[in-house]
């Protein structure tokens, strides 16, 4: 029953969960720090050295806050909302190849929880149901700001999913597989997809911003208009879940972008340096995380650079710019494939 494979998988799952949560936690810290730095401030620096314990303090604060459930809300759904948001956020990490094969105690393992032959679609599916957490929460709050936020979230996510899917299609056309592992493996060395699909990448990353509700597309929760949007009525750990989910999403989105376009765990000259395969694997993990961190940084960088879109601008960008562009990208890719074959 307990094959080494299974044990390894369990360990991996636990590890991935832990790392994900940890990174999400420290993303909040990173966010504040980076925001501060970009604004020539210092950011949190009181809790621990450089404020390194700030996330813990925030967490404790979240737990200690009073649980408020609005009177007129739908109780069950009100609680279900953040749970769903958290769950869907965590689900995607299951198919990300964290590294190449690693040999331990004579067994070879994949540093990936599961290799679906339709992994890319899995990502897509999980993203697409991610909106339920927001919608249910927003609706159950029985508050007009929450409802508006939820509506914005749903239409925004549906709109950008299309362009995202089209961008992915172009990628799939050039890679010829839907499996994340195979996509990653095909980018060995420095054959990253970003060089094949620059336009696709651009579209994808813009859509990724929209899908994670990050600035400049953070309309569902934009404070100036909707005083927090779908989580206006939330407090305590339920609010924490929502915020957490956003950072987890960001982390996962970074991981997906890294894997799809930036070679995943591959790094330049990996096979030319005469390293053992385990070393390559471990270095690969390190490189992957480096890429992920870069993208998390990138997310924040953008957030603190670009102002928020207006809602109609958002929709115009999605429907009138990104989708035609993505279709053009597909045609272009097709033409190139046709020409080179």
């Amino acid at each position: 029953m307990f094959t080494p494979e299974l044990i390894f998988k369990i360990v991996l799952i636990v590890a991935v969960f832990a790392i994900t949560l940890l990174i999400a936690m420290y993303s909040t810290y990173g966010e504040r720090k980076i925001a501060a730095f970009m604004q020539d401030r210092l950011g949190p620096n009181r809790a621990g050295i450089f404020g390194i314990l700030q996330p813990l303090a925030d967490g404790v604060k979240m737990f200690m806050k009073e649980e408020l459930i609005p009177n007129m809300s739908n109780k069950v759904l009100f609680i279900l909302g953040p749970c769903l948001a958290m769950t869907t956020a965590l689900m995607t990490s299951a198919i990300i190849p964290w590294g190449s094969e690693i040999t331990l105690f004579g067994n070879t393992f994949n540093l990936q929880i599961t290799d679906l032959n339709i992994g890319v679609l899995y990502v897509f599916a999980v993203t697409s149901i991610g909106v339920y957490g927001i919608m249910i929460g927003g609706w159950a709050s029985n508050n007009k700001y929450s409802l508006l936020g939820a509506l914005r979230a749903s239409s925004q996510m549906i709109s950008y999913e299309i362009a995202m899917g089209l961008a992915i299609i172009a990628l799939i056309m050039s890679t010829g597989t839907l499996s994340m592992r195979e996509i990653a493996a095909a980018q060995a060395g420095f054959h990253w997809n970003i060089f094949v699909q620059p336009l696709g990448f651009l579209i994808f990353i813009i859509c990724a911003f929209a899908e994670t509700n990050r600035a400049p597309f953070d309309l569902p929760e934009c404070e100036t208009e909707l005083i927090g949007g779908y989580h206006t009525e939330y407090s305590s750990m339920k609010l924490g879940f929502y915020l957490f989910a956003e950072y987890i999403n960001m982390f996962v989105a970074s991981a997906v972008i890294s894997t799809l376009y930036f070679g995943g765990y591959n790094f330049p000259f990996m096979n030319d340096m005469g390293l053992s395969s385990n070393a390559i694997a471990i270095l690969g993990v390190v490189f992957l995380f480096a890429k992920i961190f870069f993208f998390i940084f990138f997310f924040m960088w953008i957030r603190w650079t670009i102002p928020r879109f207006r809602y109609d601008q958002l929709m115009r960008l999605g429907w009138k710019v990104l989708i035609p562009l993505a279709i053009f990208n597909i045609l272009l890719t097709g033409a190139i494939i046709f020409a080179t074959n």
Partner: protein
């Protein structure tokens, strides 16, 4: 184990389906329908149709039901003010649906002998196999479905857009 899964998923699907029909609040109906869809997706996986399952989730759960939910929210229909139909009508509806079911059950007789299970090809649910069928045998339908989607888009725009012309 697998059999248990089958029956479990079936139970979930039917129960959720029943709730869709009977729930007073449309939002609850939507949520139950989503549950039913997930159960059906589970069935697809049991049938080795993973691609189908995932597309099912993307399309139904990810897009269609979100649209439903957002329309219900947009129109603010959460108050269940639907006046009940008279019991006679309810009974008639139930009887009609029941009769349909009975007919199907009757038609089931002897199915096993008609449809002998073929030697099972576990590759058909894969993207490669499906893609080959889709783009060889079913190329024309694939292409004409563009007409369908385009007209749906035009329709959605012209019907709801505020200021035409």
């Amino acid at each position: 184990m697998i059999q248990f899964l089958f029956y479990f998923l079936s139970f979930v699907a039917v129960a959720a389906g029943l709730m869709v029909v009977t729930a007073k609040n449309p939002v609850h109906s939507v949520l139950y329908l989503i549950i039913a869809f997930f159960a059906i997706a589970g069935h697809y996986i049991l049938l080795n149709a993973q691609f189908l399952a995932i597309v099912h989730i993307i399309v139904y759960a990810g897009a269609i039901m979100v649209l439903f939910l957002s329309v219900i929210m947009l129109l603010n229909l959460n108050n269940d003010n639907e006046p009940a139909k008279s019991n006679v009508l309810k009974l008639a509806a139930a009887v009609a649906a029941g009769l349909l079911l009975v007919t199907f059950t009757g038609a089931l007789k002897g199915t096993e002998s008609i449809i002998a299970a073929q030697p099972f090809d576990d590759q058909i649910g894969y993207v490669k196999a499906l893609g080959k069928v889709l783009f060889n045998d079913f190329l024309l339908p694939f292409e004409v479905s563009a007409l369908l989607l385009l007209s749906a888009i035009i329709g959605a725009v012209v019907l709801v857009k505020h200021d035409l012309k």
